[in-house]
């Protein structure tokens, strides 16, 4: 579903992502982890078509993000770490706008379900300025899910959420995975990745340093330990 092949992303002289490849199949939830500045957000933004890859290819459900961006993005949703909302649109208006952009004919019924699922009922006419950060994050997620995307990219999805919101978010991600969506979750919260992801990709200084299930990674990093934290510190050479 999501194919990243030899992705390289440079910003001027700086290489943020270097020859990075991975694949996410339908129904798979892949955790993308790495230290600060490892290239996680650059990778996700390249997959989402926000940043143009310097080289390499990215396809979503067979559609190249560079040569067929509209078809690729139609199947994709990107939830940024910082919720990006229009200050002047209410919650419902955001959903209405995004539904029109993705041509969602049954917007009203889907919106009602999402607002309930994300506990946004009663906030339909609120402007972003009247919402807490966690609520804004939920609005951004509702907008991302309104067109029932086949591929989902989450960049630090739990930031700003309360314990109940975190629980709901995990349930939402798992439910989308079960319904066949290919999901990438980028997070520093290793326990979250360990809990919900079926496979983990570790990136460091723009290069892939690990890829596999927790058991496979544990085997690769022999002697490091069985927890993701121990494996992460070992493969990124940050044990000391």
């Amino acid at each position: 579903m999501i194919d990243v092949a030899h992705l390289t992303k440079n910003y001027g002289d700086f290489t943020a992502v270097n020859d990075f490849s991975f694949h996410v199949a339908a129904g798979e939830i892949v955790g993308l982890i790495g230290p600060n500045g490892a290239g996680k957000t650059s990778t996700l933004r390249s997959i989402a078509g926000i940043h143009a890859p310097t080289s390499g290819a990215i396809t979503i459900d067979g559609h190249d993000i560079v040569s067929s961006p509209v078809a690729a993005k139609q199947r994709l949703a990107f939830i940024a770490d910082e919720p990006q909302l229009f200050e002047y649109l209410t919650v419902t208006e955001h959903l209405r706008l995004i539904a029109r952009i993705y041509q969602v004919a049954d917007m009203a019924s889907r919106a009602a379900v999402l607002l309930g699922e994300l506990e946004l009922s009663g906030k339909e006419h609120a402007l972003p300025g009247e919402l807490s950060r966690g609520m804004k994050q939920k609005v951004a997620i509702a907008c991302a899910l309104i067109h029932d995307p086949k591929a989902l990219l989450f960049d630090e999805p739990l930031t700003g959420l309360d314990p109940l919101g975190i629980r709901k978010m995990k349930q939402t991600i798992l439910a989308r995975g079960r319904s066949g969506a290919a999901i990438v979750v980028s997070s520093h919260l290793l326990h979250l990745v360990e809990e919900i992801c079926t496979r983990i990709v570790i990136i460091d200084r723009g290069t892939k340093v690990g890829d596999g299930t927790l058991a496979e990674l544990s085997a690769q990093a022999a002697g490091a330990g069985s927890s993701l934290e121990q494996i992460f510190l070992a493969v990124t050479n940050r044990e000391s």
Partner: protein, 575 residues
């Protein structure tokens, strides 16, 4: 502690200058700085009579020649402003702090008074910069002229700033204490009473003022009224301030300085005496601003109102973007926005009233319509930023949408296009209905003539607006780093240069876009005239409109391809 806070201000100033010098390595800042400095040098040197052998005129010199009336007029204006600030809605956040200041200074062992002193100190740099710019544009003929005006203006701005802060702190204090009655209304009554006394004195002398023949005599009479009794007492603090920058000689300046400093000191002590808890509001605002650093001057969004139309879930995506941007206009339009239009309205009003003395009211109203029409068509697209220029701040989100760059651009350009075209059409219809005096004997040909001009204007106006919006949005696509993203306005000499550069670019490109259509239309019109002997109006207008719209469609398509390839990382914050 004040010394430490003063050092903090100095470090901030030093580092800001260092950053500004360092960023000259980027072409946009270097070119902007060169253009900005050249522009300032033009005013300071080439337009200054002392450097250019009488090629320009010194505005300070002109002011000095009318120092008396100007001093009195400015003093009266300051009195009105000082009163208005009690009447207008109160500012709940009179003392602004940055998020880092809130984080480090608020929990520190610093008194509220020291925080206030620090903020007033910090504000001086901006006021001094503004005074320097004003002095440059006033073109002083000598250094002595220059520093007298500069320091005098700075002192006025400083006093105004402190006074406005004091008023806001007092009103916030009254609000926090829940006080009503005298505490709330006494200052309003005193301020309004002062204005009323001055107005009554002028009104009482109105017959004698009306009988005077020359402006000099009128001023002398007004000066007499304003110099004695209660009026003299009321205006004294304001005249003490306005006298300073207008002082003709150094002796006059030094004589006026103690009075002005006394007014400043009284205001300063009054503000320091205030014990209003401003920290909570300041922290809330700082937190909000830090969350959206690119939109520091974002106007407050009004509560959700009705939408312009119901957006169906399917259909053309451009409509959705127009819908979004039309909502934006409705939600951002506020009393503050309208107040910003006041100077333009006053300008139009003055022009109209001058015209109105010579003709009837209908012609005056028609003239106002035509002036506003010209402003709508030529300046409107530059001022209305409810298009890609504002949405560049959200480019990361827009780039993730499954739409082509051309689709996005069409939607973005159409929104301000619809609003400005509607305004232009209304003004054209108004001007057509009002212009000239209808002569019953010649009603039919006159109406026909008017209708043809009106139809031509109705066709050309949207085309010109569309062309200008295309150029402005094209600049945002081609040179995103040059555009102030979101609602942010960058400041400084380089920003001044960037704006001059882009404005010149817009005007040149607009002319280039309109010339081919104009030539074709002129040729067709000439052909029709040669054959029929009639000068056509509607046909050339239709040709201009069609060709310009076709040009715009093609250009938008090409710009859309560039936008498709634009990397969001190319759009860096303006500051």
């Amino acid at each position: 502690m004040i010394a430490t806070l003063a050092s903090l201000s100095l470090w901030q100033i030093k580092n800001r200058i260092r950053v500004r010098i360092a960023r000259l390595r980027e072409p946009r800042y270097l070119v902007g700085s060169i253009v900005g400095i050249a522009y300032l040098a033009y005013f300071a040197v080439l337009r200054n009579p002392s450097f250019s052998a009488g090629r320009g005129a010194s505005a300070i010199g002109n002011l000095a020649r009318a120092a008396g009336p100007v001093e009195l007029g400015l003093a009266a204006t300051l009195l009105v402003l000082a009163t208005l600030v009690w009447l207008l809605p109160a500012n709940p956040n009179p003392v602004r702090f940055s998020a880092s200041e809130v984080q480090f200074l608020f929990p520190a062992p610093i008194t509220r008074r020291q925080l206030l002193q620090y903020r007033l100190l910090r504000a001086q740099l901006g006021l001094l910069f503004g005074s320097v710019m004003a002095t440059v544009f006033m073109r002083p003929t000598s250094l002595a002229n220059g520093w007298k005006f500069l320091t005098g203006l700075w002192l006025i701005l400083m006093t105004c700033r402190i006074y406005f802060t004091g008023v806001s702190l007092y009103r916030e204090s009254v609000r926090q204490r829940g006080s009503g009655g005298m505490a709330k209304w006494a200052p309003v009554i005193v301020a309004c009473g002062a204005v009323a006394i001055v107005a009554a004195a002028v009104a009482a002398s109105w017959p004698s003022l009306n009988a005077l023949n020359s402006p000099g005599e009128v001023f002398e009479e007004l000066d007499r009224i304003a110099s004695g009794g209660a009026v003299g007492l009321i205006l004294w603090p304001f005249r003490a301030l306005t006298r300073l920058p207008l002082a003709a000689t150094a002796t006059a300046y030094w004589a006026a300085l103690p009075g002005a400093l006394a007014v400043l000191l009284v205001n300063y002590l009054w503000v320091l005496k205030a014990d209003t808890a401003f920290e909570e509001n300041a922290a809330l605002v700082a937190e909000k601003n830090a969350a959206r650093p690119r939109a520091r001057v974002q106007p407050r969004v009004r509560a959700a109102a009705t939408t312009p139309f119901v957006l169906a879930p399917t259909g053309r995506v451009e409509t959705a973007i127009v819908w979004k941007n039309l909502i934006m206009i409705g939600r951002y339009a506020s009393l503050r926005t309208l107040l910003r239009l006041v100077p333009a309205m006053i300008g139009v009003g003055v022009v109209v009233s001058i015209v109105g003395r010579r003709s009837g009211m209908a012609a005056v109203a028609a003239g106002a319509c035509l002036i506003l029409l010209a402003m709508t068509i030529l300046i409107g697209p530059m001022l209305s930023r409810n298009d890609l220029r504002r949405d560049l701040a959200n480019l990361a989100m827009l780039k993730a949408w499954p739409i082509s760059g051309a689709t996005l651009l069409r939607g973005e350009i159409l929104a301000p296009g619809v609003v400005l075209t509607s305004m232009a059409w209304l003004l054209i219809l108004g001007a057509t209905a009002l212009v000239g005096n209808l002569d019953v004997r010649a009603v039919a040909p006159l109406i026909l003539q008017r209708l043809s001009y009106m139809t031509a204007a109705l066709m050309v106006a949207p085309a010109v607006i569309l062309a200008e919006l295309t150029v402005l949005n094209g600049l945002a696509v081609l040179f995103p780093a040059w555009i102030s993203t979101g609602a942010t306005r960058s400041r400084g000499v380089d920003a001044l240069g960037q704006r001059l550069f882009t404005t010149a670019g817009v005007l040149i490109t607009l002319v280039v876009a309109l010339v081919p259509a104009g030539i074709v239309a002129a040729l067709v019109a000439a052909g029709v005239y040669l054959v029929t002997g009639v000068v056509p109006v509607i046909l050339p207008a239709a040709i201009v409109a069609c060709l310009v719209i076709v040009e715009c469609i093609v250009v938008i398509e090409l710009l859309g391809r560039v936008l498709d390839r634009t990397d969001v990382s190319a759009v860096s914050p303006a500051e």
